[in-house]
């Protein structure tokens, strides 16, 4: 995204516009019907006018004119390449014999995203410069009228086509023409916004299968460059809405631009403009550079167009996904489910090898299928333009509610108040012991559902990678995650000798069950806490009520199972089950306006606008991308971020602390995460001092020393220098 319309620039233009119109009013009064005048035209949302830089025409001598377009706020007209929709402004000339018009000199446009499309357009006021060359054989003191018909499309979301017949009346004079004082400044400003045609920066390009790579280098290896975006002259070359990846490379900088499906095979050259947010010769300098470079086909297997995909090759990603999945078993929120898995291993240790293996694979399949469903849904939603991210299933209060109740019931079950599927076990035993498969499969599913929000460092990277890749590649990464997560169970089921080392079943298992039940209960409480943040305290009260009634239903069900209560008690069980269902709507009410959790001392609520403001002021910023349902985030907060000594360091370096709370779906935060190639929390970002400073990412498991080191390394030295 380019940011041509920076606040100061707009301010300057508005100011200039005011001065100009005041001036125009005054001169208009004085000059009356002066020979050189421009005829304006007011379209529905756009004012167009044709201006001449000079007051007269000298035979044979080229002079500059400009089409001035002023768009109403919120409306835009289009660049030479309009992007996915819209149409470029067009001028059709109707000039006296011998007059020639040059090409329109287009200033750099702004990219406007209209999900799922993107267009290149102008907002505010622009001048489209055109050079006119008059013929040699003009009669002096004759007054000539040049005409042009202008066609444009003005759009906000909906579009209105505009057209106007404009004319320019100028006298022919033999002497060098005088500049028209009214337009000197606008012309000067417009010229300063035209693309440079050369710079110290060298640009080369290559064509890969799915991306173009532009390399931007300079002889001076220390030269710095702010974010650069490519705007092609052809509308068929690139996939306009795709994010362009710009980053430093060994030789300088590289920019990856996704190819359009309208550009196939070889592309002779890339022509267009490169817009640098900070300017090509340092802050405040020219922002636009015109490029026309050959783009030979190149082997793109080593390209890494997505940020964060430092391991590059697909199998590397698969391996890291596998390792990430393996690590997931150790994350706090998977722990309760591991215990369920251990139970199954213990119970099946004495079964035949083939049955164990089959159970192992069933569990793996359960995990894999869940990952595939998640991947499919994620890809589908992503492609459908939805703002979703990893962990999104826990961002939906209804899902959290269901999970909390499920874990609560499972805990009651482990405490021994009732048994699950006794009749299933009985009938299953008759069918040669196949009864456990469904349970094991669901266990795999459950493990995945609970595990997903806790993303280990590997997983964050793998997901960032997957989100930027094609569907099959992303699915491969998800498969790796699933296999990694299920592998310990699979290995244990495959190697009986290791299983044999596990203790023999006995009374201790009942104790273990109760201990594990405690973990499930803790998980249920944690989910309830998450739910409270999402849905509010009234909804939490509903959840607690539902849980209590469910408990009663489970209690009586268990009594019936143990024949401690007669079958008449079924009425009670059904009554309580019905009551529990009836209380659910209480929990699913819309959250009333309650206080958010943003009021923690020292942290400001994250917004992109706030971040941009701080960044452009060069202030150091630390962003904590977090969510209540992310246990790793909570642990990091307790053990590192909120420690007094760390807070003191933040204060010492004057770091503004921004907290991006992703507990509920927040599209702005989803986008900000995506900007770092992530779709999961935690993510910790430190911007050092200076508007051009590159973001530093901290590890996902924080230690006080790591945070202190990052702060001293990135802020300490500069402080000394100042």
């Amino acid at each position: 995204m380019n940011k041509l319309g920076s606040a100061s620039e707009i301010g300057m233009r508005v100011g200039l516009g005011l001065i100009m119109s005041a001036f125009l009013g005054a001169t208009g009064l004085v000059m009356g019907s002066a020979p050189c005048h421009a005829e304006g035209f007011r379209g529905a949302r756009t004012q167009v006018e044709w201006l001449s830089e000079t007051e007269s025409i000298q035979p044979g001598k080229p002079f500059w004119t400009a089409l001035r377009m002023k768009m109403d706020a919120g409306w835009h007209t289009y660049w030479r390449n309009p992007g996915d929709s819209g149409i470029a402004t067009e001028i059709r000339w109707d000039m006296p014999e011998g007059f020639k018009a040059g090409e329109i000199q287009w200033p750099a446009p702004k990219r406007i995203d209209l999900e799922p499309l993107a267009v290149y357009a102008y907002e505010g006021e622009i001048l489209l410069l055109v050079q006119i060359t008059p013929p040699e054989n003009l009669v002096s003191d004759e007054t000539l009228t040049l005409k042009a018909r202008v066609y444009w499309l003005e759009c906000e979301v909906n579009c209105i086509p505009g057209d106007a017949l404009l004319s320019l009346t100028l006298p022919v004079r033999p002497e060098n023409p005088k500049a028209d004082p009214r337009w000197a400044q606008p012309f000067q400003l417009a010229r300063s916004q035209l693309p440079l045609i050369a710079s110290e920066w060298r640009v080369s390009a290559e064509t890969g299968r799915n991306y173009f790579r532009l390399r931007i280098t300079q002889a001076d290896p220390k030269a710095r460059l702010g974010r650069v975006s490519f705007f092609p002259y052809s509308d068929k070359l690139i996939h306009h809405p795709a994010r362009q990846t710009f980053r430093a490379s060994d030789e300088g900088y590289e920019l990856f631009v996704r190819r359009s499906n309208l550009s196939q095979g070889e592309v002779p050259a890339l022509e267009g403009i490169l817009v640098s947010e900070e300017g090509w010769r340092g802050p405040g300098s020219e922002k636009v550079l015109e490029v026309s470079v050959p783009a030979p086909s190149a082997d793109d297997s080593a390209w890494r167009p997505a940020e964060e995909s430092s391991f590059g090759a697909l199998w590397g990603a698969f391996f890291f996904a596998f390792a990430g999945g393996l690590l997931l078993n150790l994350m706090p929120c998977v722990f309760p489910v591991i215990s369920l898995k251990i139970l199954h291993i213990v119970e099946n240790a004495r079964a035949s090898r083939s049955r164990r293996l089959a159970l192992g694979w069933t569990f793996t399949l359960g995990v894999l299928v869940s990952f595939w469903i998640l991947a499919g849904a994620l890809l589908f939603l992503r492609a459908a333009g939805q703002e979703v991210g990893w962990g999104f299933q826990l961002q939906n209060p209804a899902v959290v509610l269901a999970l909390a109740l499920l874990f609560f019931v499972l805990a009651i079950n482990l405490f021994g108040f009732f048994e699950v599927g006794l009749f299933l076990t009985k009938s299953g035993a008759a069918v040669s012991g196949r009864g456990g498969f469904g349970g094991v499969f669901l266990n795999g599913v459950l493990a995945t559902v609970v595990a997903t929000p806790c993303t280990a460092p590997f997983m964050g990277s793998a997901l960032g990678f997957a989100m930027t890749r094609s569907a099959p590649e992303a699915l491969l990464v998800f498969t790796g995650l699933g296999l990694g997560m299920a592998s310990p169970y699979l290995i244990l089921s495959a190697f009986p000798q290791w299983v044999q080392k596990l203790p023999k079943p006995g009374a201790w298992m009942e104790q273990l069950k109760k201990i594990l039940g405690f973990f499930l209960l803790v998980t249920a409480f944690w989910l309830a806490w998450v739910f409270q943040i999402q849905a509010g305290s009234k909804a939490l009260a509903g959840l607690v009520l539902s849980a209590a009634i469910l408990f009663a239903a489970c209690f009586f069900y268990g009594r019936i199972q143990r024949r401690a209560a007669g079958s008449a008690f079924w009425v009670l069980v059904l009554f309580f089950l019905g009551a529990a269902c009836a209380t659910l709507p209480l929990s699913l009410q819309k959250k009333s306006e309650e206080t958010s959790i943003m009021s923690e001392g020292g942290w400001e609520k994250f917004s992109q606008a706030r971040l941009d403001a701080l960044r452009s002021a060069g202030e150091p910023v630390f962003i904590d991308f977090t969510a209540a349902w992310c246990l790793t985030c909570q642990v990091n907060k307790k053990t590192a971020l909120n420690l007094p000594e760390i807070r003191a360091l933040f204060r010492k370096y004057g770091v503004t602390l921004l907290k991006a709370d992703w507990t509920s779906r927040d599209p702005e935060i989803t986008r900000a995460l995506a900007a770092f190639g992530r779709s999961s929390v935690p993510l910790y970002v430190l911007y050092p001092r200076g508007a051009d400073a590159q973001a530093v990412l901290l590890p996902e498991i924080l230690t006080p020393s790591a945070v202190a080191r990052a702060l001293e390394l990135n802020l300490g030295r500069k402080e000394v220098r100042e």
Partner: protein
Amino acid sequence: MKKYSMAAVIFLSAFLSAAGAQAQVATGDAAPDFTLQDTSGQSRTLSANQGSYVVLEWINHDCPFVKKHYDSGNMQKIQAEETAKGVIWYSIASSAEGKQGYHTAEEWQGLSARKQSAATAVLLDPQGSVGKLYGAQTTPHMYVINPEGKLIYQGAIDSVASANPEDIARSENYVQKALREAESGNSVSNGSTKAYGCSVKY
């Protein structure tokens, strides 16, 4: 083995939905199937038209580019010529409810009659799912599907990108060109062009 086949089905459907939603239907590939209701409430399924050429036209009568072709009578003329030859012509409205170009089925019936549409049917896609499936970007955005169900053309309606009806006379109609080329057994010389028009109001 039920579970394995279930897994396979899930994998495949996840893959397909993801691939479909990428909106990268390449010319020459099978046109993704869909079922939409027309303005009279009848379900229309693309694959039911195998054996005929099918033209898909993305439509929004409030868009100046669509007006260019309807107010001049150009679109209706082409629709009449082609449907007379047995071509199935679906105009698809993907404007979301509340956005420009969205109308109820009843309103659409009146609108199509007023505009004297000669399309086989106007199909309603307010969810935008078919639009996104095909990657429809603009109104109009045209797609031509051959009797075997393969996409043979996608892109602009004609060669002059403008909202000015006067330009129709000097432009080459790409849809009719693709149909003629395909009917004479040739491959379509330019199977995908850049569509021009207003953005589809998803």
